[in-house]
């Protein structure tokens, strides 16, 4: 089984949800970013979403936008993102790493070469924000051939017919976007998220993680009680922004402290299947 499937199967057995932190590779610089990445598992990360910085992150709110700009300014590139994963795999062979970003840098890299190189680096999944079902075959097919899952989104605008289409060819897990909007603003109303997860569960066995707007341990616990995973991005990269200028060790410590708090409450929340 793949690292992703292994992880979600193990967590299901343990009756808890995955904690999935997001950081942008290279934010605020390559070295600090790698230090954070390598310590995320011991702070409670079950799956890591690693952002590939892009100049025009149009689905992201101010926090992730700023994070992306910091990384680019620090010299992050696609090659450096992959090197970072390779280096991570030397110290961690079990925690799944999912690269998240926009299509153009992948397009520029070449989809076939990209699929090959991410697999070689030890990447487990890809989330490409602006590559919907209609367009993702060009990446999904070569990635799948390399054993890398392309993770798809379900959103508040996804109706039943669309859900069927999204599930056809979906791999790894599903990313439920809790609210129609950009990252880091508000989270969706709990009832709506619960109903959406129930609808997804009725249609697939793929794990369903929830992201967008989850900032506090309290919110993470509420989502963890319903979903198979909790994604937190903006709150974590904001922690980096808030501590810029401090010594590297302090930035790392702040980020890991927040991660531990979020992971702790995610793991403590009993994970009751909605449709069980």
């Amino acid at each position: 089984m793949s690292r992703l499937a292994d992880t979600f199967a193990r967590l299901k057995k343990e009756g808890r949800a995955a904690f999935v932190p997001f950081i942008t590779a290279g934010d605020p610089d390559m070295e600090t970013s790698f230090a954070i990445l390598s310590k995320l598992p011991e702070a409670g990360a079950d799956v890591i979403e690693l952002g590939m910085p892009f100049s025009d992150p149009m689905a992201d709110g101010p926090a992730v936008q700023a994070s992306s700009m910091r990384a680019l300014k620090a010299g992050a590139s696609m090659v450096k993102v992959l090197e970072m994963v390779k280096k991570f795999r030397k110290v961690n062979s079990t925690t799944p790493v999912v690269l998240m970003g926009y299509y153009n840098p992948i397009h520029a890299y070449g989809t076939a070469r990209f699929a090959h190189d991410v697999a070689g680096a030890g990447v487990d999944g890809l989330i490409v924000v602006d590559l919907p079902v209609e367009e993702d075959e060009v990446l999904r097919v070569p990635a799948r051939a390399q054993g890398v899952d392309v993770i798809r989104f379900v959103t508040p605008t996804t109706d039943d017919a669309r859900l069927k289409r999204v599930l056809d060819g979906a791999g790894g897990y599903l990313y439920y976007v809790s609210v129609a909007g950009v990252t880091g603003t508000k989270s969706g109303p709990e009832d709506a998220v619960r109903a959406a997860i129930a609808r997804v569960r009725a249609a697939t066995d793929l794990p369903c993680t929830v992201g967008f707007g989850i900032r506090t341990p309290h919110q993470a616990a509420a989502i963890a009680a319903m979903a198979d995973g909790v994604v937190v991005g903006s709150a974590i990269v904001s922690k980096i922004a808030d501590n810029l200028g401090k010594p590297r060790a302090a930035i790392i410590a702040e980020v890991l402290e927040l991660t531990r708090a979020l992971a702790g409450s995610t793991h403590a929340a009993r994970h009751a299947r909605v449709n069980a």
Partner: protein
């Protein structure tokens, strides 16, 4: 892939592709909206009532048809081909943009949307959007880069006067690309009630085809007017290309006329050899931005490079996907002119014809200034004069070192 088709007018395909370009590269949250828009537009296209209402507005509100004017003194001055100007500058709001915003707001109403958003560069599209929003009593928010707000102050005031909220965008180079990012962010957060009126032939399908369809009134009129005036088609049709909506509107009715040469004119800014230009088709490479695959100014890592042009309306690192296809097919030739050449053309047309062109349109005029003298007096050029230059007088005065 590069087989020449029987017609250049059949695209896009069902997925919104012009050859390898176009498509629908948007976040999943927006996909159902984009698909709903496509359905609504297909239905509207087949509805005579939609066309009747649009034609009525174009005639009585926008002031169409616009004249095809023989630029006698410019022709004599350049001493070559006869030059005609398609006077889109005489439309209500002063540019071709109103052709598109009228079409889209009718569609918004058909879809029951109650709020309008748009991006704008020079402000022409913002004004044209604020205008139709006022006309139909819908609240309207316009996203505009802070740099563009500074260099297009009169248009910012116009939009506010028309009742629109103008939101300054402070990310990136604070120009059109960044305003587009912000408009997309607004759209994804307001999916229930909001219609996004895109200002050019860019964005996810169906926008490039839909905006083109609304703008082909330019070329259709030009064709008929030219046949009436000269009894034949022009030898050369030309227009400036930023996103490319006035250009595709002008070109599309001529693309199957093999004897008609077609030139798109991009902004070379400070020169295509400098890092400061907006010549996407001339200097860029295929990439994906704002919903479509098309030529793009980008670095080797796929990061988008900021464009530069003295003209805020051409200051965009992307271009409409149909232009990318027409370029690859060789049907349209794309040239570029510098800020300096556009300024000279701006002044020349003002002095010789009493017509102050938009800086965008001045790029097309500048191209003609270069090539008309090499053509014979019995040859004919039709330029799309996409807008008027009132909005640009401050920035032109500044560039010419004059204080107002």
């Amino acid at each position: 892939m590069n087989t020449i088709p029987n017609s250049f007018r059949t695209g896009p395909d069902a997925g919104g592709h012009f050859g390898a370009y176009g498509g629908r590269f948007v976040a999943e949250t927006l996909m159902p909206l984009v698909l709903a828009l496509e359905q609504a537009y297909e239905a509207a296209k087949k509805d005579p009532a939609f066309h009747a209402e649009l034609t009525d507005l174009l005639t009585h509100y926008a002031g169409r048809e616009s004249p095809l004017y023989f630029a006698e003194r410019l022709t004599a001055h350049l001493g070559g081909a006869k030059i005609y100007l398609k006077r889109e500058d005489l439309n209500h709001t002063g540019a071709h943009k109103i052709n598109n915003t009228l079409g889209q707001i009718l569609l918004a109403r058909r879809m029951g949307k109650t709020r309008i958003i748009a991006e704008t560069g020079a402000g022409s599209h913002g004004v044209a959007t604020a205008t139709v929003a006022a006309r139909f009593g819908l609240p309207c928010t316009i996203y505009m880069g802070e740099v563009d707000m500074e260099r297009q102050k009169p248009n910012v005031f116009r939009m506010r006067l028309l009742g629109a909220e103008v939101r300054g965008v402070s990310s990136g180079a604070r120009t059109l690309k960044d305003a587009t990012n912000e408009a997309l962010r607004d759209w994804v957060a307001n999916v229930e009630d909001t219609f996004y009126i895109i200002g050019s032939v860019v964005g996810p399908h169906p926008y490039p085809a839909m905006v083109r369809d609304f703008q082909t009134v330019i070329g259709n009129e030009t064709r008929a007017q030219m046949l009436e005036r000269e009894g034949r088609l022009p030898d050369l049709v030309t227009a400036c290309v930023g996103g490319g909506s006035n250009a595709i509107g002008m070109f599309h009715p001529f693309v199957d006329d093999v004897a008609v040469e077609i030139h798109g004119v991009e902004a070379a800014g400070e020169g295509v050899d400098s890092p400061r230009h907006a010549a996407t088709l001339s200097m860029g490479s295929p990439g994906v931005l704002h919903g479509a695959r098309s030529y793009l100014l980008q670095d080797s890592d796929g990061q988008v490079i900021e464009a530069h042009s003295i003209s805020a309306g051409l200051d965009y690192p992307g271009v409409g996907p149909e232009h990318s296809w027409l370029k690859d097919m060789g049907r349209v030739k794309y040239h570029s002119v510098t800020d300096r050449e556009a300024l000279d053309a701006f002044v020349m047309l003002s002095k010789l014809e009493g017509i102050i062109p938009a800086l965008e349109s001045a790029h097309a005029v500048a191209h003609v200034i270069k090539i008309a003298p090499q053509m014979r007096p019995d040859q004919i050029i039709a330029i799309c004069l996409s807008g008027r230059g009132d909005k640009d007088v401050f920035s032109v005065a500044h560039a010419l070192g004059e204080k107002l």
